[in-house]
């Protein structure tokens, strides 16, 4: 591979992985943390406006990161080619984010500051994120709000006409800006409208219903992508000077998740197989406030915004197996366990804590609803205190959504919630400039690993997506392009020919299997396995069980999958099959990463590593690093290769996280 030519040094973990050389971020300036982004912006080279239009940037994904980056680079005068698998860039999954977006504006005068947002985020991520990146995120958060307001994003306002804010899970200041329960939609429509403006201006060339199936790495640089038109099945190549992936997270590996059904890891995974390191794949976020599973046919899980925890009180019956309707359980027979266990934060503890606490209650047979996999989220007190009208104004659409799905009225009976997979903190490894380990391949938003550590605080995903898209990539991508011009390449380049052939061969192989099982049946089996063994709690035994099963499941998939139809037209089963094939490989890397990390941190909870009272037990001495994995199946040894990036904490000193 390009920048990591070293030989792996040792076989580790009963031969399940190899240890490679360490890796480091060499792009963050060596200045005080508060000056790094300013210094980086100043040192970044500029491209002459006349030369910009001669340069092409490919941006895959049109969510907050991709849409914003495409619009901004288009505004700057570059020729941008933007790709999404949906029928319109407006449908990227960022649109479904509900709660809000953080920014250190301190409009409330409640003690917030850039440093506090930085501090909270590093601490909330359980000291597994990079200080430089997180500080930049906190700084840029201020510009994001200004930018979005200028675009006409209708954030909630107070009667003064000024912007309203609320507090959000895991923080004690009111720094979350919101647009009712549809903040992601409004922010995405802001980025989308900026993108459409550039499409009209001719700077952005949009390719909807187009899926990236491979990365073209020519002469050591990412120079293009191989795509398949979802409409016609046509395989095409697109060549450029730089490739940016903003393709979201991989939560759908679990089959059931809050992700949109189309969200997938394919673009990132194929880039990984072309040499980009994949960092911290075992860090997945389980969101505590989702609607519980109702049946076998279930296709996805629905998140109820975390903002509900501002006013809803979480409880379970004190008595095991108490099956009485919630409203007939008297106050003294209820266990408001978050308020009891974490008095300082109560119902607002961070997501990992809230999720695990719900699981513990259900494991102790105090869960409610079908199968005992649920806890109550009760608004009775809030309605009594604020009145139904005020609660309706704040959460009306969420209550409606809940009622639609469950048939229950949450104004009358408490909601039932249970944790579900929501976000993935792992992703392609990037340095401070969001460069992957393949020169010319940048990664933004949820698709990279960089800002959230082992746990993402609420209202931070939208912040990272827009920070990367509007501000970071538009600075660092031109700095890379200033290295050019790169040697021109065309369709006849061996790397292009090889990538196209590999893509076609893969599709032919899927179509020729003609087996007996549907794609979804494999996906469900994979999802259940990963949820059971690499979900809210992981153990050595369970992870090894999964690692033993996955290769045979993969083999069965390629032998026995049944796809009806051909590759030369609209074929949704074929699309799904390609994605599930990648999830089957990624799942193995997730389990390997979870197995190697002999500690608990954030969303990664190894049952062997917990404190006496059941909290996550971090091991900073041995595991304060990013685990960046090199694809190894095609290399000597045939195992994934682990490169460690040591994390340094000069400004936020690691301490046991306590929310008591």
């Amino acid at each position: 591979m390009s920048e990591l030519q070293q030989e792996p040094t040792a076989l580790q973990g009963e031969g399940r992985w190899l240890l490679g050389d360490p890796i480091a971020d060499e792009r963050a300036p060596d200045s005080p943390v508060g000056d790094r982004w300013s210094d980086r912006k100043f040192s970044a080279r500029l491209v002459n406006p006349a030369n910009r239009r001669k340069m092409t940037a490919i941006i895959v994904g049109t969510g907050l990161a991709g849409g914003a980056a495409a619009a901004t680079l288009g505004e700057a005068g570059y020729h941008v080619k933007s790709f999404c698998f949906q029928d319109s860039p407006r449908r990227a999954h960022s649109i479904a984010a509900q709660g809000g977006i953080n920014a250190a504006k301190n409009y409330r005068n409640d003690g917030d500051s850039i440093h506090r947002l930085f501090y909270d985020t590093v601490k909330g991520g359980d000291f597994r994120s990079r200080e430089s990146n997180v500080h930049r995120l906190a700084e840029v958060s201020l510009n994001i709000i200004d930018q979005c307001v200028a675009q006409g994003v209708p954030f909630a306002r107070e009667y003064s006409g000024l912007l309203d804010t609320r507090s959000f899970g895991g923080t004690q200041v009111s720094r979350t800006f919101y647009a009712r329960g549809q903040t992601g939609q409004q922010l995405l429509l802001g980025a989308y409208s900026a993108l459409e403006r550039q499409i009209a201006a001719g700077t952005v060339e949009m390719h909807p219903r187009t899926e990236m199936l491979d990365l073209i790495v020519a002469d050591g640089r990412a120079r293009g992508i191989v795509t398949r038109s979802i409409l016609t099945g046509r395989i095409e190549t697109h060549l450029a000077d730089v490739v940016v992936l903003c393709t979201g997270g991989y939560g759908n590996v679990y089959y059931l998740s809050t992700n949109a059904k189309g969200s997938n890891v394919t673009a990132a995974w194929r880039a990984h197989k072309r040499g980009a390191l994949f960092a911290n794949p075992c860090y997945t976020q389980i969101h505590p406030t989702c609607i519980p599973v109702s049946g076998e046919y279930q296709s996805k899980l629905t998140l109820m915004s975390e903002s509900l925890r501002n006013d809803g009180r979480v409880w379970v019956p004190k008595e095991r197996g108490d099956s009485r309707p919630p409203n007939s359980i008297p106050e003294e027979e209820r266990d408001y366990y978050l308020e009891r266990q974490y008095p300082a934060f109560g119902n607002l503890v961070p997501r990992d804590i809230a999720s695990r606490a719900a699981k513990n209650m259900c494991d102790a047979e105090q869960g409610v609803g079908p199968g005992g996999l649920g806890v109550y989220l009760d608004f009775k007190d809030a309605i009594g205190r604020l009145g139904r009208h005020a609660v309706e104004a704040k959460y009306g659409n969420l209550f409606e959504m809940y009622q639609r799905i469950t048939g229950d009225d949450p104004y009358e009976v408490p909601m039932r919630i249970y944790p579900a997979i929501h976000y993935t903190m792992g992703g392609l490894w990037v340095d401070y400039d969001l460069r992957s380990t393949i020169p010319g391949l940048f990664v933004g938003g949820e698709a990279n690993f960089s800002d959230h550590g082992a746990n993402r605080l609420g209202a931070s995903a939208l912040m990272q997506g827009l920070a990367d898209g509007y501000f970071v990539l538009p600075t660092t991508v031109p700095n890379y392009l200033a290295d050019g011009p790169f040697d021109p390449i065309d369709e006849s380049h061996p790397a292009v020919v090889e990538a196209v052939e590999a893509t076609k061969g893969r599709i032919d192989k899927l179509l020729s299997a003609n087996g007996n099982r549907t794609v979804d049946s494999f996906h469900r089996e994979l999802g259940q396995l990963i949820w059971d063994q690499c979900g809210m709690a992981r153990s050595k035994e369970g992870l090894e069980k999964a690692l033993d099963r996955l290769p045979s499941l993969r083999e069965e998939f390629w032998r026995d999958v049944k796809i009806v139809g051909t590759g030369d037209g609209f074929n949704q089963s074929l699309e799904k099959a390609g994605r599930v094939a990648d999830f089957l490989e990624l799942g193995e890397l997730m389990c390997t990463d979870a197995l190697h990390r002999e500690e608990s941190c954030g969303g990664h909870f190894r049952v062997e590593h917990q404190t006496e009272d059941g909290e996550a037990q971090r091991d900073d001495e041995n595991f304060a690093y990013v685990a960046a994995w090199e694809y190894g199946a095609d290399k000597p040894g045939g195992k994934p290769i682990l490169h460690k990036e040591d994390l340094e904490f000069s400004y936020v000193h690691p301490s046991q996280r306590s929310y008591k």
């Binding site: 407006r90 449908r91 479904a96 200004d146 209708p154 409409l231 799905i405 049944k562 009806v564």
Partner: protein, 251 residues
């Protein structure tokens, strides 16, 4: 529940379509409509038949992907609900349900229930934005917005671009979609400088794209899953009139 489905099958844009009948014996009332179609598709695949193609993604009622006419009504019988949020508890055991794609000249069928709604993106390209470049925005609190305007702008901004309004309109008009964006941006101070040109350019574009004209039938607002009111069309007409009187012309 036992359900009989009559589904529009059309191999591709050029092929002739027809309704096909399928019987399902194991539908549960907690299933969403799309989950019921998933169950049908699993069966079809195992029988070696082409599964029914349909657009869907978030399955939370917000992305606007899912689009089908159910028993003659876009998104089905439940008010203010997208198809992905419609649950089978709203149907009865033994029901026969007709499922068809959006029917509108500007939304050609791609396959089965999937249509091409890219015309909506083109309407937005005609002016559905505030022309602000990244990095040049003033401090957010520098421009207060009165709460009523902000709330009304938000209500209009909730449009998900699903196209149900067009599918329900006997004229195939996109007036409700266009007016929602015009209302959203026209109510905010940030949207004022381009208010008149936005309205006339977007209106001109929808005419050019083969959407029909608005004759105030009101079917659009009836089926809108986000409850965008008919009044937003009045707002668009008001803005267009203002623009015309001011002598503004479409680009």
């Amino acid at each position: 529940m036992r359900i009989t489905l009559r589904v529009w099958r059309q191999k591709n844009a050029d092929a002739k379509g027809k309704m096909a009948k399928y019987k399902l014996d194991d539908v549960e009332e907690d299933m969403s409509f799309l989950e019921m179609l998933d169950v049908l598709n699993e069966k079809l695949i195992l029988q070696g038949e082409d599964p029914v193609s349909f657009d869907h993604d978030c399955r939370e009622g917000i992305c606007g992907s899912c689009a089908m006419v159910i028993n003659g009504t876009p998104h089905g019988p439940q008010k203010n609900t997208t198809t992905c949020q419609l649950h089978m508890r709203h149907f009865k055991d033994g029901d026969t349900i007709d499922v068809e794609p959006w029917r509108a000249r500007a939304f050609p069928v791609i396959k089965d229930l999937v249509t091409d709604r890219s015309a909506f993106d083109q309407i937005i390209q005609a002016g559905g934005y505030v022309s602000v470049n990244t990095g040049s925005a003033p401090e957010a609190h520098a421009t207060p917005v009165d709460k009523v305007s902000a709330d009304d702008a938000f209500d209009a901004a909730t449009c998900i671009g699903c196209g149900a309004c067009v599918a329900a309109c006997p004229n195939g008009s996109s007036m409700l979609f266009t007016s929602a964006k015009v209302t959203h941006l026209g109510l905010l101070p940030q949207g004022q400088p381009e208010r008149q040109t936005r309205a006339i350019n977007m209106l001109a574009k929808q005419d050019e794209l083969d959407f029909g004209g608005c004759t105030n039938v009101g079917a659009c607002a009836e089926v809108c899953p986000k409850g965008i009111p008919l009044a937003s069309i009045s707002q668009l007409n008001h803005d267009v009139l203002g623009a015309t009187l001011a002598g503004a012309r479409a680009d």
